[in-house]
Symmetry: C2
Subunit: 193 residues, 2 copies
Protein backbone atom coordinates (compact mmCIF):
# COMPACT_ATOMS: atom_id res chain seq x y z
CA UNK A 1 0.00 0.00 0.00
CA UNK A 2 1.44 3.33 -1.06
CA UNK A 3 1.33 5.85 1.75
CA UNK A 4 3.62 8.43 0.11
CA UNK A 5 0.76 10.81 -0.64
CA UNK A 6 -0.42 10.78 2.95
CA UNK A 7 3.06 11.41 4.32
CA UNK A 8 3.75 14.24 1.91
CA UNK A 9 0.38 15.81 2.76
CA UNK A 10 1.24 15.61 6.44
CA UNK A 11 4.56 17.29 5.72
CA UNK A 12 2.75 20.20 4.14
CA UNK A 13 1.30 21.04 7.52
CA UNK A 14 3.73 19.76 10.13
CA UNK A 15 7.38 18.84 10.56
CA UNK A 16 7.95 15.13 10.45
CA UNK A 17 11.17 13.12 10.41
CA UNK A 18 11.29 9.77 8.63
CA UNK A 19 11.35 8.12 12.00
CA UNK A 20 8.23 9.95 13.11
CA UNK A 21 6.41 9.09 9.88
CA UNK A 22 7.24 5.46 10.47
CA UNK A 23 5.95 5.69 14.02
CA UNK A 24 2.71 7.25 12.81
CA UNK A 25 2.21 4.51 10.22
CA UNK A 26 3.00 1.84 12.82
CA UNK A 27 -0.05 3.04 14.77
CA UNK A 28 -2.37 2.47 11.82
CA UNK A 29 -3.83 -0.74 10.44
CA UNK A 30 -3.65 -1.05 6.67
CA UNK A 31 -6.60 -2.85 5.17
CA UNK A 32 -8.07 -3.72 1.79
CA UNK A 33 -11.80 -3.74 1.36
CA UNK A 34 -13.90 -4.92 -1.54
CA UNK A 35 -16.76 -3.06 -3.15
CA UNK A 36 -19.81 -3.22 -0.95
CA UNK A 37 -18.00 -4.26 2.23
CA UNK A 38 -18.75 -2.50 5.49
CA UNK A 39 -15.99 -0.99 7.58
CA UNK A 40 -18.02 0.19 10.51
CA UNK A 41 -21.31 -1.28 11.53
CA UNK A 42 -24.36 0.45 12.88
CA UNK A 43 -24.91 0.31 16.62
CA UNK A 44 -21.42 -0.49 17.80
CA UNK A 45 -19.08 2.22 19.07
CA UNK A 46 -16.72 3.28 16.30
CA UNK A 47 -13.24 1.96 16.69
CA UNK A 48 -11.47 3.67 13.85
CA UNK A 49 -10.83 6.94 12.21
CA UNK A 50 -10.39 5.99 8.56
CA UNK A 51 -7.99 7.34 5.97
CA UNK A 52 -8.71 6.43 2.35
CA UNK A 53 -5.48 5.57 0.53
CA UNK A 54 -7.13 4.50 -2.72
CA UNK A 55 -10.68 3.88 -3.88
CA UNK A 56 -13.80 5.45 -2.46
CA UNK A 57 -15.97 4.98 0.63
CA UNK A 58 -19.30 6.38 1.62
CA UNK A 59 -20.81 6.92 5.04
CA UNK A 60 -24.52 7.07 5.75
CA UNK A 61 -26.84 7.54 8.68
CA UNK A 62 -29.82 5.23 9.18
CA UNK A 63 -32.82 6.98 10.75
CA UNK A 64 -35.51 5.45 12.97
CA UNK A 65 -37.70 4.63 9.96
CA UNK A 66 -34.81 2.66 8.52
CA UNK A 67 -34.08 5.13 5.73
CA UNK A 68 -30.45 5.74 4.84
CA UNK A 69 -29.04 9.22 4.37
CA UNK A 70 -25.65 9.54 2.70
CA UNK A 71 -23.44 11.94 4.59
CA UNK A 72 -20.16 11.80 2.74
CA UNK A 73 -18.33 10.26 -0.18
CA UNK A 74 -14.70 9.82 0.89
CA UNK A 75 -12.24 9.68 -1.97
CA UNK A 76 -8.51 8.92 -1.87
CA UNK A 77 -6.72 11.25 0.54
CA UNK A 78 -9.78 11.89 2.71
CA UNK A 79 -10.45 10.96 6.30
CA UNK A 80 -13.84 9.58 7.23
CA UNK A 81 -15.72 7.84 10.04
CA UNK A 82 -18.22 8.66 12.77
CA UNK A 83 -16.49 11.36 14.78
CA UNK A 84 -19.30 11.50 17.34
CA UNK A 85 -19.02 7.86 18.20
CA UNK A 86 -15.21 7.93 17.95
CA UNK A 87 -15.04 10.79 20.43
CA UNK A 88 -17.71 9.83 22.93
CA UNK A 89 -17.67 6.02 22.57
CA UNK A 90 -21.43 5.86 22.16
CA UNK A 91 -23.06 3.48 19.69
CA UNK A 92 -22.67 4.69 16.15
CA UNK A 93 -25.60 5.72 13.96
CA UNK A 94 -23.37 5.78 10.90
CA UNK A 95 -22.28 3.02 8.57
CA UNK A 96 -19.17 3.23 6.41
CA UNK A 97 -19.07 1.16 3.24
CA UNK A 98 -16.74 0.74 0.27
CA UNK A 99 -18.12 2.03 -3.02
CA UNK A 100 -15.19 0.54 -4.92
CA UNK A 101 -12.38 -1.81 -3.97
CA UNK A 102 -10.33 0.37 -1.67
CA UNK A 103 -7.22 0.56 0.47
CA UNK A 104 -7.59 2.23 3.84
CA UNK A 105 -5.56 2.99 6.94
CA UNK A 106 -7.41 2.58 10.23
CA UNK A 107 -6.40 4.71 13.18
CA UNK A 108 -7.78 3.19 16.38
CA UNK A 109 -8.96 5.55 19.06
CA UNK A 110 -6.26 4.58 21.56
CA UNK A 111 -3.57 5.00 18.90
CA UNK A 112 -4.87 8.49 18.22
CA UNK A 113 -4.34 9.33 21.90
CA UNK A 114 -0.81 7.93 21.81
CA UNK A 115 -0.05 9.73 18.59
CA UNK A 116 -1.13 13.11 19.96
CA UNK A 117 0.88 12.55 23.10
CA UNK A 118 4.10 11.41 21.44
CA UNK A 119 3.92 13.71 18.41
CA UNK A 120 2.02 16.84 19.47
CA UNK A 121 2.47 18.35 16.01
CA UNK A 122 -0.43 16.08 15.01
CA UNK A 123 -2.67 18.30 17.12
CA UNK A 124 -1.92 20.93 14.54
CA UNK A 125 -2.54 18.57 11.63
CA UNK A 126 -5.94 17.53 12.92
CA UNK A 127 -6.79 21.09 13.96
CA UNK A 128 -6.28 22.16 10.35
CA UNK A 129 -8.07 19.07 9.00
CA UNK A 130 -11.11 19.69 11.19
CA UNK A 131 -11.06 23.40 10.47
CA UNK A 132 -11.22 22.73 6.72
CA UNK A 133 -13.83 20.09 7.23
CA UNK A 134 -15.93 22.56 9.21
CA UNK A 135 -15.77 24.99 6.31
CA UNK A 136 -16.93 22.27 3.92
CA UNK A 137 -19.79 21.35 6.25
CA UNK A 138 -20.77 24.99 6.55
CA UNK A 139 -20.95 25.35 2.80
CA UNK A 140 -23.08 22.25 2.52
CA UNK A 141 -25.45 23.55 5.19
CA UNK A 142 -25.78 26.84 3.34
CA UNK A 143 -26.47 24.97 0.09
CA UNK A 144 -29.14 22.81 1.67
CA UNK A 145 -30.84 25.88 3.11
CA UNK A 146 -30.73 28.17 0.12
CA UNK A 147 -30.55 26.17 -3.09
CA UNK A 148 -33.07 23.99 -4.98
CA UNK A 149 -32.53 20.27 -5.53
CA UNK A 150 -31.78 20.84 -9.21
CA UNK A 151 -29.07 23.37 -8.45
CA UNK A 152 -27.61 21.14 -5.78
CA UNK A 153 -27.36 18.34 -8.30
CA UNK A 154 -25.64 20.56 -10.83
CA UNK A 155 -23.23 21.77 -8.16
CA UNK A 156 -22.51 18.18 -7.17
CA UNK A 157 -21.73 17.20 -10.76
CA UNK A 158 -19.40 20.15 -11.08
CA UNK A 159 -17.64 19.50 -7.79
CA UNK A 160 -17.24 15.72 -7.97
CA UNK A 161 -17.23 14.75 -11.66
CA UNK A 162 -15.46 11.40 -11.10
CA UNK A 163 -18.02 10.25 -8.54
CA UNK A 164 -20.94 10.29 -10.97
CA UNK A 165 -19.15 7.67 -13.05
CA UNK A 166 -19.43 4.89 -10.49
CA UNK A 167 -21.71 5.99 -7.65
CA UNK A 168 -25.28 4.66 -8.07
CA UNK A 169 -27.70 7.54 -8.58
CA UNK A 170 -29.78 6.54 -5.58
CA UNK A 171 -26.83 7.34 -3.32
CA UNK A 172 -26.27 10.67 -5.00
CA UNK A 173 -29.97 11.42 -4.50
CA UNK A 174 -29.64 10.56 -0.83
CA UNK A 175 -26.56 12.76 -0.49
CA UNK A 176 -28.50 15.64 -2.06
CA UNK A 177 -31.39 15.06 0.34
CA UNK A 178 -33.94 13.92 -2.26
CA UNK A 179 -35.52 10.64 -3.39
CA UNK A 180 -34.09 8.66 -6.34
CA UNK A 181 -37.39 9.15 -8.20
CA UNK A 182 -37.11 12.88 -7.93
CA UNK A 183 -33.48 12.91 -9.03
CA UNK A 184 -34.54 10.90 -12.06
CA UNK A 185 -37.11 13.57 -12.90
CA UNK A 186 -34.53 16.32 -12.49
CA UNK A 187 -32.21 14.47 -14.86
CA UNK A 188 -34.93 14.06 -17.47
CA UNK A 189 -35.67 17.75 -17.29
CA UNK A 190 -31.98 18.63 -17.66
CA UNK A 191 -31.59 16.25 -20.60
CA UNK A 192 -34.40 17.91 -22.51
CA UNK A 193 -32.60 21.25 -22.40
Amino acid sequence: MNTDNLISTLKQYIKLTDEESTYFLSLTLPMRVHQGEMLEKLGEPTKYFIHVVSGCLMSYHTDKEGTDHVLQFAQAGWWTGDLASYTTHVGSTITTRALTDSEVLLLPQTSMDQLLEKLPQFERYFRILFQKSLITHGNRLIQNLSVSAEERYLAFQKKYPPLEQYVPLKYIASYLGITPEFLSKIRRKLMSK
Copy 2:
Protein backbone atom coordinates in the same frame (compact mmCIF):
# COMPACT_ATOMS: atom_id res chain seq x y z
CA MET B 1 -15.40 41.93 31.40
CA ASN B 2 -15.24 38.62 33.21
CA THR B 3 -13.08 36.13 31.37
CA ASP B 4 -12.82 33.59 34.20
CA ASN B 5 -15.16 31.14 32.49
CA LEU B 6 -13.15 31.18 29.31
CA ILE B 7 -9.85 30.66 31.11
CA SER B 8 -11.20 27.82 33.22
CA THR B 9 -12.64 26.17 30.11
CA LEU B 10 -9.27 26.45 28.42
CA LYS B 11 -7.67 24.85 31.46
CA GLN B 12 -9.98 21.85 31.12
CA TYR B 13 -8.27 21.02 27.86
CA ILE B 14 -4.74 22.39 28.04
CA LYS B 15 -2.09 23.41 30.56
CA LEU B 16 -1.93 27.15 31.02
CA THR B 17 0.06 29.23 33.52
CA ASP B 18 -1.34 32.56 34.71
CA GLU B 19 1.25 34.27 32.59
CA GLU B 20 0.17 32.36 29.50
CA SER B 21 -3.50 33.14 30.14
CA THR B 22 -2.61 36.78 30.35
CA TYR B 23 -0.67 36.57 27.10
CA PHE B 24 -3.65 34.91 25.40
CA LEU B 25 -6.02 37.60 26.62
CA SER B 26 -3.58 40.31 25.53
CA LEU B 27 -3.99 39.06 21.97
CA THR B 28 -7.76 39.53 22.05
CA LEU B 29 -9.83 42.69 21.77
CA PRO B 30 -12.64 42.95 24.30
CA MET B 31 -15.72 44.67 22.95
CA ARG B 32 -19.27 45.46 23.98
CA VAL B 33 -21.99 45.37 21.37
CA HIS B 34 -25.60 46.46 21.59
CA GLN B 35 -28.60 44.52 20.44
CA GLY B 36 -28.85 44.62 16.68
CA GLU B 37 -25.27 45.75 16.04
CA MET B 38 -23.19 44.01 13.41
CA LEU B 39 -19.79 42.61 14.22
CA GLU B 40 -18.79 41.39 10.81
CA LYS B 41 -20.13 42.78 7.60
CA LEU B 42 -20.98 40.99 4.41
CA GLY B 43 -18.46 41.16 1.60
CA GLU B 44 -15.34 42.08 3.51
CA PRO B 45 -12.81 39.45 4.56
CA THR B 46 -13.42 38.42 8.14
CA LYS B 47 -10.94 39.85 10.56
CA TYR B 48 -11.96 38.14 13.76
CA PHE B 49 -12.75 34.85 15.34
CA ILE B 50 -15.29 35.77 17.99
CA HIS B 51 -15.73 34.45 21.51
CA VAL B 52 -19.00 35.31 23.25
CA VAL B 53 -18.38 36.23 26.89
CA SER B 54 -21.95 37.22 27.67
CA GLY B 55 -25.13 37.72 25.67
CA CYS B 56 -25.95 36.09 22.37
CA LEU B 57 -24.98 36.56 18.73
CA MET B 58 -26.29 35.08 15.55
CA SER B 59 -24.61 34.54 12.21
CA TYR B 60 -26.41 34.30 8.90
CA HIS B 61 -25.63 33.81 5.26
CA THR B 62 -27.19 36.06 2.62
CA ASP B 63 -27.84 34.26 -0.67
CA LYS B 64 -27.89 35.72 -4.18
CA GLU B 65 -31.61 36.48 -3.97
CA GLY B 66 -30.91 38.50 -0.83
CA THR B 67 -32.57 36.02 1.52
CA ASP B 68 -30.93 35.50 4.90
CA HIS B 69 -30.31 32.04 6.33
CA VAL B 70 -29.43 31.78 10.01
CA LEU B 71 -26.50 29.43 10.54
CA GLN B 72 -25.85 29.65 14.25
CA PHE B 73 -26.97 31.20 17.49
CA ALA B 74 -23.86 31.74 19.60
CA GLN B 75 -24.49 31.91 23.33
CA ALA B 76 -22.06 32.77 26.12
CA GLY B 77 -19.01 30.52 26.01
CA TRP B 78 -19.27 29.82 22.28
CA TRP B 79 -16.96 30.78 19.47
CA THR B 80 -18.43 32.09 16.23
CA GLY B 81 -17.51 33.81 12.98
CA ASP B 82 -16.97 32.95 9.33
CA LEU B 83 -14.25 30.33 9.41
CA ALA B 84 -14.06 30.13 5.61
CA SER B 85 -13.31 33.79 5.23
CA TYR B 86 -11.08 33.81 8.32
CA THR B 87 -8.98 30.99 6.90
CA THR B 88 -8.79 31.93 3.25
CA HIS B 89 -9.13 35.73 3.46
CA VAL B 90 -11.84 35.77 0.82
CA GLY B 91 -14.84 38.08 1.11
CA SER B 92 -17.29 36.85 3.68
CA THR B 93 -20.81 35.71 2.84
CA ILE B 94 -21.75 35.68 6.50
CA THR B 95 -22.92 38.44 8.81
CA THR B 96 -22.61 38.29 12.57
CA ARG B 97 -25.04 40.33 14.63
CA ALA B 98 -25.84 40.76 18.30
CA LEU B 99 -29.23 39.41 19.36
CA THR B 100 -28.87 40.93 22.82
CA ASP B 101 -26.41 43.36 24.36
CA SER B 102 -23.27 41.27 24.50
CA GLU B 103 -19.65 41.18 25.53
CA VAL B 104 -17.24 39.54 23.13
CA LEU B 105 -13.54 38.88 22.70
CA LEU B 106 -12.21 39.28 19.19
CA LEU B 107 -9.22 37.21 18.12
CA PRO B 108 -7.69 38.74 14.99
CA GLN B 109 -6.31 36.37 12.38
CA THR B 110 -2.69 37.45 12.86
CA SER B 111 -3.00 37.06 16.64
CA MET B 112 -4.28 33.52 16.12
CA ASP B 113 -1.09 32.75 14.19
CA GLN B 114 1.06 34.25 16.94
CA LEU B 115 -0.88 32.41 19.61
CA LEU B 116 -0.45 29.03 17.93
CA GLU B 117 3.26 29.67 17.48
CA LYS B 118 3.99 30.87 21.01
CA LEU B 119 1.60 28.54 22.84
CA PRO B 120 1.29 25.38 20.74
CA GLN B 121 -1.06 23.84 23.30
CA PHE B 122 -3.72 26.03 21.69
CA GLU B 123 -3.48 23.78 18.64
CA ARG B 124 -4.93 21.14 20.91
CA TYR B 125 -7.62 23.44 22.26
CA PHE B 126 -8.81 24.41 18.80
CA ARG B 127 -8.47 20.85 17.52
CA ILE B 128 -10.89 19.74 20.24
CA LEU B 129 -13.15 22.77 19.68
CA PHE B 130 -13.38 22.10 15.94
CA GLN B 131 -13.82 18.39 16.49
CA LYS B 132 -16.83 19.00 18.75
CA SER B 133 -18.16 21.59 16.38
CA LEU B 134 -17.92 19.09 13.53
CA ILE B 135 -19.99 16.63 15.53
CA THR B 136 -22.65 19.28 16.12
CA HIS B 137 -22.69 20.16 12.42
CA GLY B 138 -22.99 16.49 11.52
CA ASN B 139 -26.00 16.09 13.77
CA ARG B 140 -27.64 19.14 12.28
CA LEU B 141 -27.06 17.81 8.77
CA ILE B 142 -28.62 14.48 9.72
CA GLN B 143 -31.62 16.29 11.22
CA ASN B 144 -32.15 18.42 8.14
CA LEU B 145 -32.04 15.33 5.94
CA SER B 146 -34.23 13.00 7.96
CA VAL B 147 -36.64 14.96 10.11
CA SER B 148 -39.75 17.06 9.35
CA ALA B 149 -39.92 20.78 10.06
CA GLU B 150 -42.27 20.20 12.99
CA GLU B 151 -39.90 17.75 14.63
CA ARG B 152 -36.94 20.04 14.03
CA TYR B 153 -38.81 22.83 15.79
CA LEU B 154 -39.61 20.61 18.77
CA ALA B 155 -35.98 19.49 18.94
CA PHE B 156 -34.85 23.11 18.81
CA GLN B 157 -37.16 24.07 21.70
CA LYS B 158 -35.85 21.18 23.71
CA LYS B 159 -32.19 21.89 22.98
CA TYR B 160 -32.17 25.68 23.37
CA PRO B 161 -35.02 26.61 25.72
CA PRO B 162 -33.56 30.00 26.68
CA LEU B 163 -33.24 31.13 23.07
CA GLU B 164 -36.96 30.99 22.34
CA GLN B 165 -37.48 33.63 25.01
CA TYR B 166 -35.74 36.41 23.15
CA VAL B 167 -34.98 35.28 19.60
CA PRO B 168 -37.61 36.52 17.10
CA LEU B 169 -39.46 33.59 15.57
CA LYS B 170 -38.50 34.56 12.05
CA TYR B 171 -34.86 33.88 12.90
CA ILE B 172 -35.73 30.54 14.43
CA ALA B 173 -37.70 29.71 11.27
CA SER B 174 -34.68 30.63 9.18
CA TYR B 175 -32.40 28.49 11.36
CA LEU B 176 -34.78 25.56 10.89
CA GLY B 177 -34.79 26.09 7.13
CA ILE B 178 -38.44 27.14 6.80
CA THR B 179 -40.42 30.36 6.27
CA PRO B 180 -41.81 32.35 9.23
CA GLU B 181 -45.34 31.76 7.88
CA PHE B 182 -44.88 28.03 7.96
CA LEU B 183 -43.39 28.10 11.47
CA SER B 184 -46.45 30.05 12.55
CA LYS B 185 -48.67 27.31 11.14
CA ILE B 186 -46.66 24.62 12.90
CA ARG B 187 -47.06 26.50 16.16
CA ARG B 188 -50.79 26.83 15.73
CA LYS B 189 -51.05 23.12 15.10
CA LEU B 190 -48.97 22.33 18.20
CA MET B 191 -51.03 24.70 20.34
CA SER B 192 -54.26 22.95 19.41
CA LYS B 193 -52.96 19.66 20.77
